[in-house]
Amino acid sequence: MKYSYYPGCTLRNKAKDLDEYARASARALGFELEEIEDWQCCGGVYPLGTDEIATKLSSVRALNQAKEKGQDLVTICSACHHVIKRVNDDMKNVEDIRTRANNYMQLDEPYEGETTVLHYLEVLRDKVGFDKLKEKVVNPLTGKKIGAYYGCLLLRPGKIMAFDDPENPTIMEDFIRALGAEPVVYPYRNECCGGYISLKEKEMSQNMCQKIEDSAKGFGADMLITACPLCKYNLNKNASSELPVYYFTELLAEALGVKEEVAK
């Protein structure tokens, strides 16, 4: 199976490993991530302004490229996924944005939200299947107690993201189980880490991240996993950092026995 793939800028810089482990794991699981050409930064934040389209165009270009190839578009970074999925929803359902974006783009055929946007975890759950993933695991992470940290971008707004139940998500716990480890459910797993507020009001983010870490530790987690570079940054920098935080793809690569391949 071949997917169009949108890595995003952070995965080219600070979060290189998030990307590389994902690609190696995809090869091990037998699906291909075909990076789209000339992709641009998604902007990092979904633009709420309704009177301008410039900030949405990068997402529309990526979405349209996938449409032209007839492929689903896969993302990994929570922020990219959030922005692209919501822009796609706008192109499908908000006539004003759709018209103006298409007027500007002058595509051969107008883009109207036809592309399916999938997060890498959704590919694992809905396309590969967690049962199948379990079969492919060569180094089960037995004995590890892992807290899934969802953050907010993957889950909300629930109706548009349609990723999982925003109040009681299970996809990452099922993923952890498939790798042979034990998921630790803790109530702050879907709370926000503070995101960019870390730049302006560090204390607020510290407060939020510490709550997340304390809650996970309290319920017995040895480590956290996340799909978001910004969440990882905040949890590392703005909490006491007693819990290691990993990208979910790193543990995936480890369990599939392809981690070394990336390190080389």
């Binding site: 109040e167 009681n168 109530p187 702050y188 809650s215 309290g218 319920f219 017995g220």
Partner: protein, 662 residues
Amino acid sequence: MQRIGVFVCHCGSNIAATVDVKKVVELAAKEPGVVHAEDYQYMCSEAGQAKIQEAIKEKKLTGVVVCSCSPRMHEATFRKAAERAGLNPYMVEIANIREHCSWIHKDMEEATKKAVILARAAIAKVNLNAPLQPGESRVTKRALIIGGGIAGIQTALDIADAGYEVDIVEKTPSIGGRMSQLDKTFPTLDCSACILTPKMVEAAAHEKINIYTYSEVEHVSGFVGDFTVDIRKKARSVNMDKCTGCGVCQEKCPSKKIPNEFNRGLNNRTAIYTPFAQAIPNVPVIDRENCLKFKTGKCGVCSKVCQAGAIEYDQQDEIVTQKYGAIVVATGFDIIKLDKYDEYAYSQSKDVITSLELERIMNAAGPTKGHLERLSDGKAPKELVFIQCVGSRCSDDRGKPYCSKICCMYTAKHAMLIRDKYPDTNVTVFYIDVRTPGKNFDEFYRRAVEQYGVNYIKGQVGKVIPQPDGSLLVQGSDLIDNKQILKKADMVVLATAIEPNPDVRKIATMLTASIDTNNFLTEAHAKLRPVESPTAGIFLSGVCQGPKDIPETVAQAGAAAVKAIGLLAKDKLTTNPCTAKSDELLCNGCSTCANVCPYGAISYEDKQVNDHGIRETRRVAVVNTALCQGCGACTVACPSGAMDLQGFSNRQIIAEVDAICR
């Protein structure tokens, strides 16, 4: 040619402000057949009716058109007025220029045009009307009550006391319903069982009341005054006549791990069980899905220990068929499932409970013998938080748009009882609004605040956070202080929205009674006929019609009983003469009409006909006018045009359409 009078009502300003009534009179007067036209401020008033009667006599009218409100409102009024003046009531037609015109339009010119067209259509129809004579049907002097909760019991008692036979059909093994699960009742705090049990006993002992428990209504046919109902008596596996209710079978039953529905699954019951101590009848049932004897064929302990020999494993379901004149729906409610409200951690913590679960915990016969304790560790909670409107007044599709009405009062009750019994337990209530209309209700709520020191916070809760030490954190907002609150709690109680019993859809379909988007049964008129269904002979009692507390439910139960008694007291009912009629000369006996008839009103007979001098025997459709409801399905289905609906004939409908399109 008819001599038609047209009467245009102003309805105060309801019609006259949007429709130029004088213009309607002027143009209607020019229509064929019209010999008289006038307008009046309130046509339904006595003076207005007198004007119609006068005109009928003076102008020798043979038909009347009243341009006014919906026929559902005043058709009967005007038909009776015409009848008193010697006109056949079915010669009166209503042109609805209020609901269908003035209320929904703003532009006077357009609305007037439309009103004239509606009048014209009605005039065209009256030109083809023929006098009709209503028939009569008999009334079976017996009522069926579906549901044996307090609503059903009260309605049954009131009807039975008036001297009519009543059957109660209850799905569960005992009557008593939701009220039997409650501990205390507001606003007087008397014990629920103490006031309910005497009513249950009275119903069971009443010579006119017959109770079918563990039974369901399976099929309903017929019509007002003459319903035929099949009732499925599910196999109880225990002989009702032999059982003495000693309870030994329940003590000895080895399947003890079945969630106890009566205690909301907070503890377990056995496979052979009576739901609660005061159950009526006090005869257990065997839950066959969980009984070892039925699952594996081995066991049979209950049969061995039963001194009375009452256990009958080979009992079969039984169908009882009975005739009724009136049916009362009293199917009650349940609370909604909380799977869409995971922010309150109901599925994650045992110490987050619903208010109905708290009722069972507070009850001496409940899972904790009436001691307020946490279900996780059995400790007494010191900090208790109530969250109001969980699933009620909800604007998205997770919950219900309506107010569940009972929660403000029962939460005040719970708070007060807990503060009274456990003075060192702090109680906090998060609310959107406190709604306490009702006699002595607001005084009751204020007592909770002022005398019992219950801490009410106006604001909603965003999240309940289970802590590693087993306690809970409640994250909410205080709208009056404008601040965020993080409150530690040992137990959280959710005032969960109520919804109609899920079986009500099935029952409404059987009864052809209408239900609204929330599955509450619709009343015939929201204000003026609140206990009747639009389907004749069906009455509504209790929460099946809308959220209610116990006093309101009992009041409505009585009202439903009075309406049913009013029906049962009649020996004969006047039937609607607007029924289908088959033209024998056109009918070819194809059976199409019988196949589409929802009431089974059409049969076939071999009849001698005289078709233009040819005498022969033909198979033709015959309509039973007592069963026909005048829906018109057959007239549309009939391929040869033989079926026609009296009062709404094909010619009349086409004349109306022609008049509109002219």
